[in-house]
Amino acid sequence: MSFYAYKDIIEAGDLVLAFISRGATKPITVTPGEVLNTRYGQFEHDLMIGMKYGSQMAGKKGYGFIHLLHPTPELWTLSLPHRTQIVYTPDSSYIVQRLGVGPGSRIIEAGTGSASFTHSFARSVGDKGKVFTYEFHEVRYNEAKRELEEHGLMKNTVITHRNVCDDGFEIDNHKVDGDVVFLDLPSPWTAIPHLNKVIAEDRQVGICCFSPCIEQVEKTVKALEDDGWTSIEMVEVAGKRWEARKDMVKHVDDVVKRLKDIQDRKSQGIEKLRNVNSTAPSEVSSTESTPEPPSKKQKRDRGFNPFGKGTRIKEGDDQYEWRDVTKVESEIKSHTSYLTFAYKNPNRKV
């Protein structure tokens, strides 16, 4: 198991993301003898060993299942208990693309936070690149450090316990030489002046500052300008998730038929009532305009009921006509942060 490459078969000691349901993915380290308990059943680690990543796995009692997924930075992000504000994928993927992060990039990241973006950076820069990440908060630093170690990411990642706003980014025994900077700090403008000592001198350096409030952006823009950064641009990223659904087609002709049916049944009712009273022969003709007997299964007689009103219908039920529609999440992320980008150039031949 590694965040740098896929493997196919699950072994003891592997990190597996157990996909229980949308919104519920549980990271587990496969340990002989242990059992994963979910509300969809129990799943023995012993049985996972030797299975293929991606396999559907049945619960112990024969019903219920989970899927055993290989970790990636993106699935890891989804499975994280939200320890702190996460940089979500629409933001992180754009930052990586726009700043040209790739094999060989040297990243400066502060703060580490939940380390979810750290995972993504480490994956992308490969063994030719390097990620320097800084976290001030001790508890979180320790947690992130442990996690990066467990996930085998220390091959290209250096995590430092540091308040970069006060103490800068320099690291003993490392030439940071960063060419991509990501600052997710409450006051990036206090950290920006410290960057000069650790960013590359022989090539262009890109920065992204991630700030929730607009006033932070104003101060950041000023600090960047004062410090010689150019091409400053601020953007917002809006990410939405849509789901495919089906909506029942209700033709007005069926409405009309139903209204006629109601009318007919009513007049039949009156007729019946009259028959009871007068014992006159019933008029057969009155039933002629009754619409064809409803073909849909109906538990009790609702008359002609083309849209299954009052019954429980499964979305997409073959007995009805449907249209494909998309529905957005019921609650969308309307704001994550403002992203302020800028570049710094040596402005000389190198």
């Binding site: 740098y4 559907q56 290989h70 091409s231 990223v237 998730r241 494909d324």
Partner: protein, 444 residues
Amino acid sequence: MNTKNRTVITANQHVLIRLPSEGTKIVELRPSGVVSLGKFGSFLVDGVLGYPFGQSFEIVEGQDVKPILSLQHSSDPKDVSEEPEGDLNKEELTKMFSENNQNIIDIGSKIQKLTNDDIEELKKSGATSSIGQHIIDQMIAGHEGFDKKTLFSQQKYLRRKQQKFLRRFTVEYLGSSQMLQYYIDKDLPRVIDLSEESLGLLMTYGNVRPGGNYLLIDETGGVVLYAMLERMGGEGQVVLVHENEHVNIIALRHAGYSEEYINRMVKTIDYLQFLEPENEKINWEDKSEEELAEMKSSKREQYEKRRERATAINSVIETVQNGNFDALISVSTLHQPTLLPRILDTVGGSRPIVIYNQYKELLLETQHVLTKDKRVLAPSIFETRVRPYQTIPGRMHPLMTMRGGGGYILWGTKVIPQEGITAVGRGISKRKREESPATDATDS
């Protein structure tokens, strides 16, 4: 090996030139050559070599250049783009208000006394670095309303004029974002409406990284392929499926990769070979040394060519038959609902399936098909849109207009369904529904 230099402007590479007009251009930097930027002048290639990518220049004397801080900054310490600091008081604002209003109706080409001919004349008259400023000065002199404008609108006006006449440019590394930007400007349908943010999301959801082994459908002329190669850094492989006789990866012409490099990283296969591999494999038996020795040299050459082709085709067909790709990335106008079920099995377990489309309606149809097909877990449609701001201090707001569209991405995970697994019973399922309102994987 990728021999491109990603950090320093180097001879014989294709680069992106960004102009003050926000236009872009891709040029090849031939040593001792001259690059023409149309109305922005022309420059000697040798003058820009050796600077880091991202450097901005101004054309100074003839076709020589000098480095400048950015397109917005002249070499002068104080330049027009700088704003006055501090709050304006009420009086000034009222004044600004009135003047702003006053000028909106008045400003137009009719009060612009400098004709286009005048401007052309001026442009011909000299090639000094001051020509742009000179033209602007003349235009201001010819603009009766100029002194009536507010400071802000004066600056805005100058900036707009500057963009037209200042002989500045930036030399950028031709990364995938730049390549995409170039095609967006020149030929948006070519890249099927793809935006930079959608491209980034494709790469991230596709988990594209060094050493990966990817299956790709790319109808953008190779822009997506180029982005993948960038993320892979020379390690791994892309199998590219194409619908025509020959693959179209026109964007890679500018990429500066050697043919050897591309041949090593990219294997191509057409849909016929992909879907009917047994028919399309080429029966090939090497001739013996004796037979070869008897051949005429022209025949021998032909034989070698055919052998090479047969080996290549058989090899890529075999790669596909072995499958276990690390992702399927599809950026295509072909009907995915009928295509995907036929190629899904070539993707390895727990690997991402990432489908781009310009239209959400088409991914909707695709999501329904994949939800029924148990081989893709939790497919969803994602939309990402970037909204740029004006960041002039004190006048911060989103840009008033931007490009619509940008496409949609369906992302799911390839999984391996097991026969005979029962979902949890109805009672449990009901409780579950109450707990998590989202559609649940066990429902499908």
